[in-house]
């Protein structure tokens, strides 16, 4: 215990001495965060400084082993580090799929050479990764993927297209699922492989959404030659790797929506939606003038609160040592639907002010609301559709027959 207290004191002192004051309060979200990689351009020199100093201590990946560029911290120590950073309102020095996805995957499934090659670069923010799973034809049936990997000596020759590869246009490497064998069950014959985006034959085209620009891309492989040594785990055992990673991803998404709905309560004295409704549709005797809207806002707030309490209950249960069940499916469904309802409500509150796409006559935040509403429609599709999640609950939680 006194060791941890000592660690806390040292950490705080180090952070106070090394963290640029200018970064306090800057979030480490998709927009403001540092993704790193060869093409990365820092929008502030202090962000670069902060990354370098943290990477040097291994604290971009606090719990990873020191030999791969991590901090070698215990989870208790990592928690203290996070707490102290939060106390100083410091952003994470680095974000991205390297740290959250391929890194943990390599730690679990990669061989020594792969770990030594890739993990330090991830920790230092030198290489940015993207994910190549879905394909135009695969959808919810991910295992039906068709991108072909044909063995040619020490290489696989890869042909096919991946969709929904977020930020592929800014990434240096991609981890991808490819089909090395189409003869057996569809889950067999899938290989998890690492591909350098600079390789000849790799090309990227951005995907335009109904809400406008997006980080999503299509990534095309045309006779791309990838060394067999880039296969993670066994050839043909990619589905095992993918499943572990997908489970991880869904928990993250569910967490995001769980947390988002909790945070939504914080804005404004009366909460965000009541304030918006009051400002756009008026008040009477200190209450929202439109009683029907008031009822809908209250219903939304209440279900959000009950949902947040359910997320909390699951966490409390996990802390108390209960085995987690399939809650992540429920969180994914409910959290995404709440987010959609939130935007539907906002759009209805805005009324004709929500009709804009761009340009004159519309308020900037209203335009953003309209785009966000459209974007929210994808929440119940991406990361496992609501239909797939409902199937999971029916089968794995309720035990209903197939």
């Amino acid at each position: 215990m006194s060791d941890l207290e000592a660690f806390r004191r040292e950490t705080r002192a180090w952070l106070e001495a090394n963290a640029p004051k200018s970064l306090a309060g800057i979030p480490s979200n998709d927009i403001e965060g540092v993704w790193g990689g060869k093409k990365w351009v820092f929008d502030h020199p202090d962000k670069k400084l902060w990354l370098e100093r943290m990477a040097e201590k291994g604290w971009t990946a606090p719990t990873w082993p020191v030999e791969y560029g991590g901090g070698g911290l215990s989870s208790a120590e990592a928690k203290i580090l996070a707490q102290e950073m939060k106390a100083l309102r410091l952003p994470a020095p680095l974000i991205g799929f390297g740290l959250t996805m391929i890194g943990p995957t390599l730690l679990r499934f990669g061989n020594e050479a792969q770990k030594q090659e890739h993990l330090p670069k991830i920790c230092r923010g030198e290489i940015r990764w993207c994910q190549g799973y879905s394909e135009p034809g695969s959808g919810s049936d991910l295992a039906s993927l068709q991108t072909k990997a044909v063995r040619d000596g020490d290489h696989f020759v890869i042909n096919g297209t991946k969709v929904w590869t977020s930020y592929a246009d800014e990434a240096d490497w991609i981890f991808a699922l490819v089909r090395n064998d189409a003869s057996g069950k569809k889950q067999e014959g899938i290989t998890f492989i690492l591909i350098d985006m600079d390789d000849p034959g790799v090309s990227v085209s951005p995907i335009l959404l109904i809400s406008g620009k997006s980080p999503f891309c299509e990534t095309h492989f045309k006779d791309v030659r990838v060394p067999v040594t880039n296969v993670v785990h066994e050839i043909g055992a990619g589905w095992t790797v993918a499943k572990a990673l997908l489970g991880h991803e869904r928990t993250m998404i569910a967490d995001t929506f769980g947390v988002a709905s909790t945070k939504a309560r914080a804005r404004g004295a009366r909460g965000f939606l009541p304030e918006l409704a009051a400002s756009r549709t008026g008040e009477q005797d200190g209450r929202l003038a439109d009683a029907v809207l008031r009822d809908q806002v209250a219903a939304f707030e209440m279900e959000s609160r009950a949902f947040a309490l359910t997320v909390q209950r699951t966490k409390d249960a996990a802390r108390a040592g209960h085995q987690p069940g399939s809650e992540s499916s429920m969180f994914k469904i409910y959290g995404t639907e709440l987010n959609q309802r939130r935007y539907e409500l906002m759009v209805r509150i805005l009324g004709p002010d929500a009709l804009g796409w761009e340009g004159p006559g519309f308020d900037e935040t209203d335009l953003e609301t309209t785009r966000d509403w459209l974007r929210s429609r994808g929440n119940t599709i991406e990361g496992g559709t609501s239909e797939v999640q409902l199937n999971i609950i029916a089968k794995h939680v309720l035990g209903l027959p197939a």
């Binding site: 004295a269 009366r270 909460g271 009541p274 409704a277 009051a278 200190g286 209450r287 929202l288 008031r294 009822d295 806002v297 209250a298 219903a299 707030e301 209440m302 279900e303 609160r305 009950a306 949902f307 309490l309 359910t310 909390q312 209950r313 409390d316 249960a317 802390r319 108390a320 209960h322 429920m330 469904i333 409910y334 239909e387 409902l390 199937n391 609950i393 029916a394 089968k395 939680v397 309720l398 035990g399 209903l400 027959p401 197939a402």
Partner: protein, 385 residues
């Protein structure tokens, strides 16, 4: 606030579920109903439950209770709600008992609370008058000063667990008009006093309930709970707590109804397969599951928040959680039982199957202490919008 059961609570929940499953299967409720039993519950079984400590679970140790709270009482009542066990925990403990605990003078308290806690006495609370809907202040019953005391005249309806009760706590108007907050006073009225009459009502859920008629019933000043004229605050504090207990009962009922439905989906065959293999039914069952889960979280949070407030007044945040629990439970219980009857199909419509009991219970509970719309409005009002 931790939304997880501690070891003591786990044990209480398990004991309650086991006891109720063994001593009070739904067939017992059915038999009492079919017999038109006046009480609608078993005094002997109620005393057994009291011996297990259930009736006193939420009362202070110095009163002879277990010194726990609504979080624990909720576990017992949830188990009772699962099997529709009709013993008077809602009217006698959550309403009457809580009113005594929050408002009774030392004399009243020592006269009544020990009996309530050991299960030998039942004290009900008459919160409802005809036409009042969910307005606790819509009280016409008058308490007119008469000598040192009062004379009570009026009529209450739907007085829960009043049949067989030893006393009923009666909100009456010592001043003001129906609907006014000020001028309400709570009196403890013994049911064997001259001018008191009770008539059994037959409700859709067959819960023990009565019309209480007061015809110039004499009450001394010593029968007053709380401060004269300020009974609205006390009544509201009691009903908020009773609402949480009702929610726990609803949670038990909806969980059992849902379990019955899922079991039926697994076993009932149509077109050569279990009907639970039809995806449309699977998705609907999954939706019910989620609503029940959310209701459970809301009930746990409300019980813990009320417990944290102790015997004091409940602030807006706590009252919002009470409204949250009642609104979610109302909607989820109705959904679970509507879907339940539909998925049972024809047999679900017959009196022979139990699922219909839960549908009736769901609706009756929804319409007690305010429906979901009422509590959404209350939530908004407490949130100042």
């Amino acid at each position: 606030m931790e939304l997880v059961l501690n070891e003591d609570q786990e044990l209480i929940a398990k004991t309650a579920l086991d006891f109720v499953a063994e001593h009070s299967p739904v067939s017992r409720f059915r038999a009492l109903r079919d017999a038109d039993d006046r009480l609608g519950y078993s005094q002997a079984l109620y005393r057994e439950m009291a011996e297990l400590g259930w009736t006193g679970i939420a009362f202070a140790e110095e009163e002879g209770g277990a010194g726990m709270g609504l979080a624990e009482l909720a576990l017992v009542v949830e188990a009772l709600g699962r099997k529709l066990a009709p013993e008077p925990f809602l009217g006698g403990i959550a309403m009457g008992g809580t009113a005594l605990s929050l408002g009774a003078s030392p004399a009243l308290r020592s006269a009544w609370l020990p009996g309530v806690i050991d299960g030998s006495k039942v004290v009900a609370l008459a919160h409802q008058e005809a036409g009042a809907r969910y307005d606790l202040c819509a009280v016409k019953t008058r308490a007119e000063a008469a000598g040192d005391g009062f004379r009570l005249t009026g009529e209450k309806t739907g007085v829960l667990d009043a049949v067989g009760a030893d006393a009923v706590i009666v909100p009456a108007r010592t001043a003001g008009q129906p609907g006014d907050r000020a001028g309400l006073t709570l009196f403890l009225v013994e049911t064997d006093r001259p001018g008191v009459s009770l008539e059994r009502q037959v409700r859709v859920d067959h819960r023990n309930a009565a019309i209480l008629r007061l015809d110039g019933v004499a009450c001394g000043a010593a029968a007053v709970l709380g401060q004269p004229g300020e009974g609205a605050d006390l009544l509201e504090a009691v009903i908020d707590r009773a609402t949480v207990v009702l929610c726990a009962e609803m949670l038990g009922g909806m969980s059992e109804a849902f379990d019955l439905t899922v079991d039926y989906l697994k076993t009932r065959e149509q077109f050569g397969v279990p009907i639970g293999s039809f995806q449309a039914l699977q998705h609907r069952a999954a939706r019910v599951y989620m609503e029940v889960e959310l209701a459970r979280s809301a009930v746990m949070a409300a019980a813990r928040a009320v417990d944290a407030a102790g015997a004091g007044p409940l602030d807006a945040d706590v009252r919002k959680l009470v409204s949250l629990a009642k609104a979610r439970c109302s909607d989820a219980y109705v959904l679970a039982t509507n879907e339940g009857v539909q998925l049972f199909g024809g047999v679900g419509m017959t009196d022979e199957y139990d699922i219909g009991f839960y549908m009736k219970r769901a609706r009756a509970a929804e319409l007690t202490f305010g429906d979901a719309a009422f509590h959404r409005d209350r939530w908004a009002m407490l949130g100042r919008y």
